[in-house]
Amino acid sequence: MAANYNEKPLLEVEGLKQYFPVSKTFTVKAVNDVSFKVYPGETYGLVGESGSGKSTIGRSIIRLYDPTSGKVTFDGMEISGKLSKSTKDKLRVQMQMIFQDPMASLNPRKKIKDIIGEGLDIHHSYKNKQEREEKIEAILAKVGLAKEHADRYPHQFSGGQRQRVGIARALIQNPKLVIADECISALDVSIQAQVVNLMKDIQEETGTAYLFIAHDLSMVKYISDRIGVLHLGHLLETGTTEEIFSNPIHPYTKSLLSAIPVPNPEFEKNRVSVNYDYKTSGIDYEQGTEHLVDGTHYVKCTDEEFKAWT
């Protein structure tokens, strides 16, 4: 993998907040002051349980939502405020998304080739029909689907095949960053590995960076260079995969790590997962500030907590 940490970060998220007002008196604070960086060619894994705000972060970055506050810089341009036409055009080509649900993420009434080619059509990035066809064929081959699949409809495919179509759609315009929003969690374990292998291969070939959002730590470990652990809208701990897995600091990270299923019955039978309950843990995420552990490993906590944990 050609992650390049000497270059400028490709994506820089600083103090991102995303609130959703539900009523006049109640606001859901889905994302709370989250900062991280993604470098060109690397894979950054965002992990957290459902409701932790991980998908919201992805959608705020790609501007399906308008961020409440914070600054997002992508490839040298600010994309968190009002978007100019040229910024928007560039953003819609250079940043792509792979979605969670292989059933819902493909338009059931469109042929595979039109789903994959939609980005090309919108941005008129081909000279003639033949070039379009060629591009679609090439990307289909890349994701391991047969040429004949181009004229079929999504419901004729299995979950794993559809997810590959989703990947093809995201990759056909050679984006610099792909946000993979829980793109494997709806698949069977055997197919998950297939999709992850495919994503890795493509990254090696094209140098695309991934923001890999998931709740399954074992796959995240396998694909990511760096990881961020998210809980209740707060980024609790971030660092390289090595740092997080060999030296977890935050009790929440520890509990997550202890729950990863392992295909080893003797180990599984004797294992007891570590409990973690935010309400009774006595930790207040709002009070926490970033503390450097070492290298690129940061934990969000108060000074006292930091002392107690390390």
């Binding site: 959608r59 790609i62 055009d89 649900d101 338009n107 980005g119 919108i122 047969a146 699949h149």
Partner: protein, 352 residues
């Protein structure tokens, strides 16, 4: 647990040693060429055909439509041709008349009691046949019934299609943009929906002269509301779907998303709604004609025929029967077809 699942029989292949070598297929194994061969519309048709009442409805719709366009030309009479000499003749059909049915006789109630007469003989018209009888002005009821059905069908289908286009666009736009746009559009819709249909129609007829176009406009002005509600509800359901979000992240514009991403997905409920609104339109048109706000004479529609027949209902009941049967069948059949389509397009029951 029983061990041998394969029961040997004579035809079974007996493996040889040559079969026990590794296949050299490691290259093509990487390309996945699986797919299911079902097509969506094939399945819809299969489900539709399985529902007998829907097929029955479709057959009747086709038969009535066929006669509506061919029927008026099947004999020498025209819908407006009057022959006062031959008024109020009872139905008489060649060949069948020998069975005693449809031989042109009718029962007339007079002060001295009921008597059976056959005007065809009394007026010495041995070679004249009015299949459904003739009316007060000596016009052929067969021709008039089918040409009336034709007018009703044209009005209903035109109104339904225009409704679909207006209502659908309105609902889709309102639902997609949401927020303030939706608020304003929904209030307008509520006001439009609040005015009684009869008021609108009466006012319209004061301004325009009565006729097919006027009735179509009148129907259109009132019917699109239902269509737009359905389109809006479907839109609200679909617009947060991931394939729509995907289009947005690819940079698609609003109109592209509404009309080429979402619209094809709601075509099912829309078609169903159109099919349901056709019988409503037929009925509304008949109702307007019946109260005298419909098609001007000498043209006729099913409604105006029923209205005319109603006037002579006590003396010549056969005059009202054909248009009523045709209308009832038409409405019933359209409803059955719509019902079948709804189920075929939106299967709630999974097959496995």
């Amino acid at each position: 647990m029983s061990n041998e699942s394969a029961v040997l029989n004579q035809n079974e292949y007996i493996p040889t040693d040559a079969d026990f070598v590794l296949k050299k297929n490691n290259a093509d194994i990487e390309v996945d060429s699986n797919f299911a061969s079902q097509s969506f519309w094939k399945e819809v048709i299969a489900r539709f055909i399985r529902k007998r009442s829907a097929v029955f409805g479709l057959v009747f719709v086709l038969i009535i439509t066929f006669f509506a366009f061919v029927g008026p030309g099947m004999n020498a009479y025209t819908y407006s041709g009057q022959n006062l000499e031959q008024k109020n003749l009872a139905p008489r059909i060649p060949i069948i008349e020998y069975t005693g049915l449809f031989d042109g006789h009718e029962n007339i109630n007079t002060t001295s009691g009921t008597k059976t007469v056959n005007y065809y003989f009394e007026k010495k018209l041995p070679d004249t046949f009015y299949w459904f009888g003739s009316d007060n002005f000596g016009r052929d009821i067969w021709t008039r019934t089918w040409s009336g059905a034709q007018v009703s069908l044209i009005i209903a289908v035109a109104a339904a299609i225009i409704d679909m286009i207006i209502g659908m666009s309105y609902g889709l736009i309102s639902g997609y943009f949401g927020g303030k746009v939706d608020m304003v559009m929904q209030r307008i819709l509520e006001i439009a929906n609040g005015i009684p249909r009869l008021v609108i129609v009466t006012l319209l007829l004061l301004v325009f002269k009565p006729g097919m176009i006027t009735i179509i406009i009148a129907l259109m002005l009132t019917e699109w509301v239902g269509m737009s509600r359905i389109a809006r509800a479907e839109m609200l359901k679909l617009k947060e779907q991931e394939f729509v979000l995907a289009s947005r992240t690819l940079g698609a514009g609003s109109m592209h998303i509404i009309f080429s991403e979402i619209l094809p997905n709601i075509i099912g409920p829309i078609i169903t709604q159109v099919m349901f609104s056709i019988p409503t339109a037929i009925f509304t048109e008949a109702f307007l004609s019946f109260v005298g706000l419909g098609i001007p004479v000498p043209r006729c529609s099913l409604g105006s025929l029923i209205s005319e027949g109603f006037n002579s209902f006590t003396t010549h009941p056969y005059q009202i029967i054909p248009p009523i049967i045709v209308m009832a069948l038409l409405m019933l059949s359209f409803n059955l077809v719509a019902d079948g389509l709804r189920e075929a397009l939106d299967p709630k029951l999974k097959e496995m």
